[in-house]
């Protein structure tokens, strides 16, 4: 099973077309293995990106260098997944009983 330990989901509210274009370019950077939950489209919509732990520092550097502010939605994706799985297991046990 794939684990997502240390992966973060970050949100960016792009402030210019230039920033949108830069984020679109990030989408094509395969080596970063970014998973765009919400793609960069316009300044009206947020951009959510799951960033693997191995790419966190690179992405942070790129964003900072381009003055793109971001917030962290999910600090450690695996923690959320563990919670989700635990809850499912509990429900399953309840239903069986």
């Amino acid at each position: 099973e794939r684990l997502f330990i240390g992966d973060q989901v970050i949100r960016i509210n792009a402030e210019s077309e230039e920033q949108i274009k830069l984020l679109q370019a990030l989408e094509t950077r395969e080596e970063l293995e970014l998973d765009f939950w919400l793609s960069p489209v316009s300044m009206e919509l947020p951009v959510d990106i799951r960033v693997p732990s191995s790419s966190l520092s690179s992405v942070s550097e790129i964003l900072n260098a381009n003055n793109i502010a971001y917030s962290v939605l999910i600090n450690d994706l695996q923690e959320r997944l563990d919670e989700e799985k635990f809850e499912m297991m509990e429900n399953h046990i309840k239903e069986r009983s």
């Binding site: 099973e1 794939r2 997502f4 989901v9 949100r11 395969e30 998973d35 765009f36 939950w37 919400l38 793609s39 489209v41 919509l45 959510d48 799951r50 939605l73 999910i74 994706l77 959320r80 997944l81 989700e84 809850e87 499912m88 429900n91 399953h92 309840k94 239903e95």
Partner: protein, 305 residues
């Protein structure tokens, strides 16, 4: 059936087993049809809600993108809602006097199973791509509607890979065959998550659909009802205008097939959860979505064409 927890996420087998329970509990209203098999040979079941005969019909599919779990969970809740409310909701009874409803709750069964057992973040089908290490096609870029155009990737490793040809994915082809063979669908509704949108064609083009004004009015009214329950705010518009240009989408195909009332939902994530919407949010999400779905279905019933 009474022990089933609609406020929880469930595995594929549990949902399939629950479908059997629903069918047995409401045998005069609900039947289960197998419309084909997935790439990994899982059955694809459609629940048919019908009072008999072959009436004009409404199609609802949920979870074509497997990681959007609140979609499938909303599908389960909605199917149960139709069964339990029938007989005590005059409008629903009248709807089913005039139309049948078909629900495909697990539109991407291989992907859904994969999200439970291998990779919670999986979105696509699980088909192999010859010549590539990467598997899967985005089943919402694989329809014969501007196939291969803007907003779809030709890279098999991309999450929006359109596939080698239109309807190459058996999961898509099964639905296409079913809709075409039936021949009398009047509405086609596809349910996704999570950016709170109600959309209509087109996605492959930014041109206005012929019925743009009507679709927009229906969508706006439907969303008004949705918002009335918990205050969830939605945007309404064409795919191209409110998200981005995306070719090969299901509702563009259905619309171009002549199914005028084609819509796609993006259900809520009012918090910061994305695809990991907590299960406590399932019932509020499904309940508000039901108000919009019902509005659309009633409109379709009242505006035959």
């Amino acid at each position: 059936g009474s022990s089933f927890n609609f406020g929880a996420y469930h595995r594929l087998e549990t949902i399939y087993s629950w479908m059997d329970t629903l069918v047995s509990e409401y045998s005069t209203l609900v039947t289960k049809l197998e419309i084909g098999r997935s790439y990994e040979n899982r059955p694809m079941y459609v629940l048919k809600f019908s009072k008999g005969g072959n009436k004009p019909a409404i199609w609802i599919d949920t979870g074509i993108h497997s990681r959007e779990w609140v979609s499938q969970a909303t599908g389960v809740w909605t199917a149960n809602k139709i069964a339990t409310d029938y007989g005590r909701d005059a409008s629903l009874a009248s709807l089913l006097d005039n139309m049948d409803i078909y629900m495909l709750i697990l539109a991407n069964p291989d992907g859904y199973d994969y999200t439970h057992n291998n990779n919670r973040m999986w979105r696509k089908t699980r088909s192999e791509n010859p010549g590539s290490m990467c598997r899967g096609v985005d089943p919402n870029r694989n329809w014969d509607a501007g196939f291969g155009g803007p907003g779809a990737s030709s890279n098999p490793c991309s999450d929006s890979y359109h596939g080698p040809s239109a309807h190459s994915e058996i999961e898509v082809k099964n639905v296409v065959n079913f809709i075409k063979n039936h021949g009398n669908f009047k509405s086609f509704i596809s349910v996704h998550a999570y950016s709170q949108l109600l959309m209509y064609p087109y996605g492959y083009s930014c041109k206005n659909a012929a019925h743009q004004a009507e679709l927009d009015a229906i969508g706006t009214a439907a969303v008004k009802k949705l918002t009335s329950l918990h205050g969830t705010r939605y945007k309404v518009g064409s795919i191209c205008n409110i998200i981005y240009q995306a070719s090969g989408g299901s509702i563009d195909w259905s619309y171009d097939e002549g199914i005028k009332y084609s819509f796609a939902f993006e259900l809520r994530d009012t918090g910061n959860s994305g695809f990991l919407l907590p299960p406590t949010q399932i019932i509020p999400t499904a309940s508000e979505t039901w108000l919009a779905l019902k509005h659309i279905m009633e409109y379709v019933r009242d505006h035959p064409y």
